[in-house]
């Protein structure tokens, strides 16, 4: 084995080591950090446990937003015009969060079926609607 072979061997060894390490880490991390994107109807049928971290896409139902009188907690209803889910969130809502507009809520369900959100996103586009909700609504219409 001359030095070129040795070097190639080292290359291949390092490369495969890196790849193996990388893929192991990736699969581990990916498995833990997937947010499943669901619509209110899917949540109703999915039998989720309180441990599942979910991402809910839908529309904020008109006249459903209620501010708590002395804290930052808000409660509103997310809808896809077939099913509704009540959401509770404590914090500052994004600028583009409006009743009747699309939003994405991340969090987990509690035992009463409320979604306790840790993050609320409103698309930075006033005409935005989550793709699935849009398709769903077109099918219903």
């Amino acid at each position: 084995m001359n030095h070129i072979h040795k070097r190639r061997f080292a290359y291949i060894f390092l490369l495969s080591l890196g790849l193996a390490m990388g893929s192991a880490l990736i699969l581990y991390a990916l498995k833990q950090n997937l947010n499943v994107f669901l619509t209110p109807s899917q949540i109703k049928t999915a039998h989720l446990s309180t441990d599942d971290h979910i991402r809910l896409g839908g529309l904020v139902k008109k006249n459903s937003l209620v501010h708590d009188t002395n804290s930052l907690t808000v409660q509103f209803i997310m809808t896809d015009y077939k099913n509704d889910i009540s959401v509770r969130y404590t914090g500052v809502l994004p600028d583009l969060f409006r009743e009747g507009k699309g939003a994405i809520v991340e969090g987990s369900l509690n035992t009463q079926g409320f979604l306790i959100a840790d993050r609320v996103l409103a698309k930075h586009d006033e005409n935005y609607l989550p793709k699935k909700v849009y398709l769903e609504m077109r099918r219903n219409a």
């Binding site: 030095h3 070129i4 070097r7 080292a10 290359y11 390092l14 490369l15 890196g18 790849l19 390490m21 990388g22 880490l25 990736i26 991390a29 990916l30 833990q32 950090n33 997937l34 947010n35 499943v36 994107f37 669901l38 991402r55 501010h67 002395n70 804290s71 930052l72 404590t90 914090g91 500052v92 809502l93 600028d95 583009l96 994405i104 996103l121 698309k123 930075h124 586009d125 006033e126 989550p130 793709k131 699935k132």
Partner: protein, 631 residues
């Protein structure tokens, strides 16, 4: 009128692009010097046409020519002049025109270069890329289309009305597109079978220039996100941000590998492959941003037809490039290596360090790519809609960053070919101990809590800084770039571990305590700007009974689009940022307010600037090249 002239200019550019690509390409294969000679004048002609088209569009914006649909969709008579000029690239069509303008600028830079490389063939490849993008511009997103009916001006998206937008997109695009130069030069060299030191040198110069611009573009982008999006973060692992990080990671690997290719004739084929991949990633980034197929927090116009067009373009270019690579590689490298006397090296040597580094960067790129595209793969296989959360990226990047830091600390100290481990240990062990001491004391001092991970990252960053400063005179470029990376990591570690934030409900007169600071909400006032009206809150910031500053966060309503925007107020400092974002009015007096105390935030951008500075120095000094005076 302007619309027609613009269309004509684009069609002329289209014709020039054809002239620039096909005849010289054919001429190169047939050795016809007359056809080959066409490349340069055609490139100049195309450049002139694109500049004219771009200026025409700018004039249309300045003169409020709302007969052009694109101008009407992105401007308004009330918009300040500076933003009207920037609005040229505020939408999809204009930004593609900017892309093409940048590509032409790089073509021009290359055509002015004095080099032994095959210029006309390289220009022909430039022409081909230009041709593809002109097709895309003219057929799917022509900015000069006249409005069929009288359109009401829609104003520029308020999120984009920020000084950050003035320089961020051109920088980012210049960087993105700059890797086309590395791509074109490498492809021409592959076809000619000359992957030699001259190729590596020129490619590296262009890659460094592009890398500097991309680094600056990303830094400005994160600064913009920090100030405008109002979430207090600087990086969200959003698909659109990842799209710019991918070519950066791969481009960094390319720059490092090209040092090896030029000085040691090692890893030539790897460097050529990286040049191709980096440009492919730039194209992929454009595709991801422009097609809107990924759920992103940023605003971009979506149109599936455009996405498909770009995807086909990407596939064709990548396919051609990779087949040329596979077909020509044996011709391009084999006899050259023997002739140049490629040198062997031990496992512990600077060569190995550079190789590991490029491998790590490449793996980092792949993981970000996977995380970014995973939702698409899932969707394509009908497994449901998912998104990959930021913790994935953080978790993956952490070990990679740790190993990269170790390699960065030791690699530059190693000699070429072989290095004694004992010498390396003697040179660095003391510094490692010193940096451990510094970081422990620092972290204990500021947080009274020893977070092992933060200390580990800080120690390694300090180690890199201590080890690398000795090269300040010999290799200032490398030194600054590595310093910048270490400073960036220190900034990220400290700002994320020491960050304090509070969402509060307060009314005028209330006080909020955060860190060592007191924030006193004084009152709110109405304000009116050129194209918005809003409410301005006044805060008094006090530390230990000493007045620090007044902060005035605003809530604005941009009247034309009826869009609400938060204008955050930031008091920057080297060691900490104070950041207030106004939420919603809750009743007549109460407001929801988000307040941040962010230590070492500025270090993140300082790191980015240092890295760019390093790139510029390396470019000027001709560092790490056979032709450079030093090293």
């Amino acid at each position: 009128m302007i619309g027609l002239a613009g269309k004509i200019a684009l069609w002329f550019a289209f014709a020039f692009a054809l002239l620039q690509s096909l005849p010289p390409f054919y001429g190169s294969l047939r050795n016809n010097i007359y056809l080959r000679a066409l490349a340069r004048p055609a490139a100049l002609g195309q450049c002139a046409c694109i500049i004219i088209a771009y200026l025409l569009l700018t004039i249309a914006f300045v003169r409020n020519d709302f007969s052009i649909a694109y101008v009407a969709a992105n401007s308004h008579p009330d918009l300040p002049l500076m933003y009207r000029i920037c609005a040229v690239w505020g939408g999809h069509e204009g930004s593609i025109l900017l892309w093409i303008l940048m590509l032409n600028a790089w073509t021009l830079a290359f055509s002015c270069l004095r080099t032994s490389l095959d210029k006309s063939l390289t220009l022909a490849i430039f022409g081909l890329i230009n041709f593809c993008f002109l097709c895309f511009l003219i057929f799917t997103s022509n900015p000069f289309l006249t409005a069929s009916t009288a359109l009401t001006p829609l104003d520029l998206n308020p999120l984009l009305q920020d000084p950050g937008l003035v320089i961020h997109p051109p920088m980012l695009y210049a960087g993105y597109v700059g890797f086309s130069a590395a791509f074109a030069i490498s492809l021409a060299a592959l076809i000619r079978g000359r992957l030699d030191a001259a190729w590596a040198h020129i490619t590296r110069q262009f890659a460094i220039a592009a890398w500097c611009l991309l680094t600056m573009g990303i830094t400005l982008g994160s600064w913009w996100a920090y100030r405008v999006l109002g979430w207090g973060g600087f990086w969200f692992w959003d698909p659109v941000e990842n799209a710019s990080l991918l070519p950066w990671l791969s481009g960094t690997a390319l720059i490092h590998t090209l040092v090896l290719a030029e000085k040691r004739q090692v890893a030539i084929s790897w460097a050529a492959l990286l040049a191709i991949i980096t440009f492919a990633l730039s194209l992929l980034g454009t595709f991801l941003v422009r097609s809107g197929i990924l759920i992103s927090a940023h605003t971009f116009a979506n149109d599936p037809a455009r996405g498909v067009f770009l995807l086909i373009l990407l596939a064709i270019l990548l396919l051609i490039a990779l087949s040329i690579y596979l077909w020509r590689l044996p011709h391009a490298t084999s006899h050259k290596n023997r002739a140049a006397g490629m040198t062997a090296f031990n496992l512990l040597s600077r060569e190995t360090g550079l190789l590991i580094n490029s491998g790590l960067l490449f793996i980092a790129m792949l993981t970000v790519l996977l995380g970014t595209l995973y939702p698409l793969i899932f969707d394509a296989l009908h497994l449901g809609a998912i998104s990959v959360g930021a913790p994935y990226f953080n978790k993956i990047m952490l070990p990679l960053a740790l190993i990269t830091l170790i390699v960065m600390a030791l690699g530059p100290l190693c000699r070429w070919q072989q290095q004694s481990a004992w010498m390396l240990w003697r040179q660095t062990a003391g510094k490692l101990l010193l940096s451990l001491l510094i970081s422990s004391v620092l972290i204990w001092g500021v947080s009274h809590h020893l977070d092992p991970l933060a200390i580990l990252l800080m120690t390694l960053s300090c180690w890199v800084i201590l080890n690398v400063t000795q090269f300040l005179r010999l290799q200032p470029g490398m030194t600054f770039a590595h310093l910048g990376f270490a400073v960036l990591l220190i900034g990220i570690v400290l700002s994320s571990t020491l960050n304090q934030e509070r969402d509060v409900r307060i009314h005028p007169g209330d006080t909020v305590n955060l860190g060592p600071y007191e924030f006193i909400f004084i009152d709110t006032q109405g304000v009116k700007g050129a194209n918005y009206r809003g409410i301005r809150a006044a805060f008094d910031v006090v530390k230990n009974n000493h007045h620090v500053t007044n902060l005035y966060p605003e809530k604005r309503i941009y009247t034309v689009r009826d869009m609400v925007m938060t204008k955050v107020a930031i008091h920057p400092g080297i060691f900490r940022d104070l950041y207030i974002a106004l939420g919603q009015p809750l009743n007549e007096n109460d407001w929801s307010v988000r307040i941040y105390y962010k230590p070492f935030m500025r270090w993140i951008w300082l790191g980015g600037i240092l890295m760019m500075l390093g790139g510029i120095l390396a470019l000027i000094k001709g560092e790490n090249s056979c032709r450079g005076k030093k090293n």
